[in-house]
């Protein structure tokens, strides 16, 4: 019961801090860069006419359209990035393949990671033109670089005993990868993919600035028109969307760690520390250890 009280108290403090912080920022910036007129960003566009129910009119606003496009770009980039990075991650693992395979494979992964997604976006806008296709390609390439590295590090860190048993049996590298490595590291691979999606949503808000689609395109547009109040509203919307996606991501990732066997993932665990650290030990007598 004492634990519950403490949990509730911490939740209350967290929420109050966020509200006070938000209110302070609004007050401090009001009249400078902030204006409630900025929330026109959530009004439907005049053209094309909005045909949805009055209650969902915001779905025709540029903010909503931009944010959804950013999320779609992130989903596709994560999907294509995962498809390409997994074989590269396996080929880069030194506990699976000899160095004449791992070095070239690692070089490809490093090359993909060497440029930030914004620069890749510029490259693909030049190649395929303006729009979300360039964004998907740019972020897919960056995902390959980032995810590939995380994957081969996880694979190299896996327990060597299953690999030794499979090698002694005489299984091929493809069979070992498919039936031993992927199932054994699946939790890590899934958690990394969810993290990458969350990362792609965040970085996807930026690539629109160079014309690669998403909410960044509108931010850039309103910056050019000096409509800073709208830009501020967009930033708040991005902040809220990223916050929600972060929380969902933490919740989903908690299913794919070994700790989830002991404690079932809960929404309170997204905001608060795990219960074990909240509950004080029942006995403070050190001699009992």
């Amino acid at each position: 019961m004492a634990g519950m009280d403490r949990e509730f108290k911490e939740l209350l403090i967290s929420v109050t801090t966020v509200i006070i912080g938000f209110w302070a920022i609004v007050q401090l910036t009001s009249g400078l860069i902030w204006d409630w007129n900025g929330w026109k960003a959530l009004e439907p566009q005049s053209y094309p006419p909005c045909e949805v129910n009055n209650f969902f009119q915001f779905a025709c606003s540029t903010a909503w359209i931009g944010m959804i496009e950013t999320i779609k770009i992130a989903i596709l980039a994560t999907f294509f990035g995962m498809l390409l990075s997994l074989p590269l991650g396996l080929l880069s693992s030194r506990n699976l393949f000899p160095s004449y395979i791992t070095y070239p494979s690692r070089a490809i992964v490093s090359a993909c990671r060497s440029l930030p997604s914004l620069i890749w976006a510029i490259v693909f806008v030049i190649i395929v033109g303006l729009g979300p296709t360039a964004g998907v390609l740019a972020m897919s390439i960056y995902t390959v670089g980032y995810l590939g590295k995380m994957q081969y590090e996880s694979i190299e860190g896996m327990n060597s005993a299953p690999l030794e048993a499979a090698n002694a049996m005489g299984l091929s590298k493809a069979e070992i990868s498919l039936w031993v490595v992927i199932p054994e590291t699946a939790n890590h691979l899934i958690a990394q993919m969810i993290f990458m999606f969350e990362y792609n949503v965040r970085s996807g808000t930026v690539i629109g600035i160079v014309g690669a689609g998403g909410i960044g395109y509108y931010i850039n547009l309103y910056l050019k028109f000096l409509e800073y109040e709208r830009v501020a509203a967009y930033l708040v919307i991005i902040f809220l969307a990223v916050l929600i996606i972060d929380m969902v991501s933490i919740y989903l990732r908690s299913f794919f760690v070994d700790d989830s066997e002991k404690t079932k993932p809960s929404w309170s665990g997204v905001i608060l520390p795990p219960k074990e650290t909240i509950d004080p030990p029942r006995s403070s007598n050190p001699q009992q250890f």
């Binding site: 030794e164 002694a168 049996m169 069979e175 054994e184």
Partner: protein, 224 residues
């Protein structure tokens, strides 16, 4: 005599950077079960790893089923049960046993072989359970079932009976020895318990602690 040798070790020196164990000449024939025993750190596991091809010999040769090191024997020839079992923890019992079955020299009846070995180990009810949720003893039985499903010519087992109770240990031993005698395979096992090792094996290799002498010669390997 006349029984073909499945394993032949010639002037073998086993170790990582320095020699832990040296064996001049040793042959293990079809149907033989050889137990290796000795103090910890003497090189018993390294010997199994060298025979399985996971560790390169410092010098000398290992010949398994007619294939001489550094060439690897044919797929499915060796069934290895490491001390840490080498199971895919996040997969089911079935997936782990099927892994052995798929590695077999013959690709036919792989499902039937997996079912038979799961039954032999008394794991029918745990078939679809994740390995990580099983007890230590049950996990050990999964590793043995995987090797039996593989139907190898040579079984290398590192302390494969530890964590098993008396009754299960007898059941497992019976299943493995039956397989070895019926299929004409050979088996090398590392076992600390000498009485148990004598019970299972036809031959026993006792390796002395040769710490004063970096080279343990064949004179310090006593055949009982």
């Amino acid at each position: 005599m006349g029984v073909p040798a499945i394993v032949r070790l010639e002037n073998l020196e086993v170790g990582f950077h320095s020699t832990l164990l040296s064996i001049e000449n040793l042959e293990i024939s079809s149907g033989d079960i050889l137990a290796v025993t000795g103090p910890s750190g003497i090189g018993k596991t390294s010997l199994l790893r060298t025979i399985s091809g996971l560790l390169r010999p410092i010098s000398g040769f290992v010949q398994v089923d007619g294939v001489r090191s550094p060439d690897r024997p044919r797929r499915g020839t060796i069934g290895y049960i490491p001390q840490k079992l080498g199971l895919v923890r996040h997969s089911s019992v079935w997936a782990n046993v099927m892994l052995g079955s798929r590695a077999a020299r013959s690709s036919s009846d792989s499902k039937e072989r997996a079912i038979n070995s799961i039954t032999a180990m008394g794991l029918e009810e745990k078939k679809y359970e994740s390995v990580k949720r099983l007890s230590g003893g049950q996990q050990r039985r999964v590793a043995i079932a995987r090797t039996l499903a593989q139907q190898p010519k040579l079984i290398l087992a590192d302390e494969f009976l530890s964590e098993l109770d008396e009754k299960t240990s007898m059941r497992v031993t019976k299943a493995v020895t039956n397989y070895v005698s019926a299929s004409g395979a050979a088996m090398i096992l590392v076992e600390h318990d000498i009485s148990r090792a004598k019970e299972i094996s036809d031959r026993l290799l006792i390796i002395d602690d040769g710490r004063l002498n970096p080279f343990i010669t064949d004179t310090s390997i006593l055949e009982v």
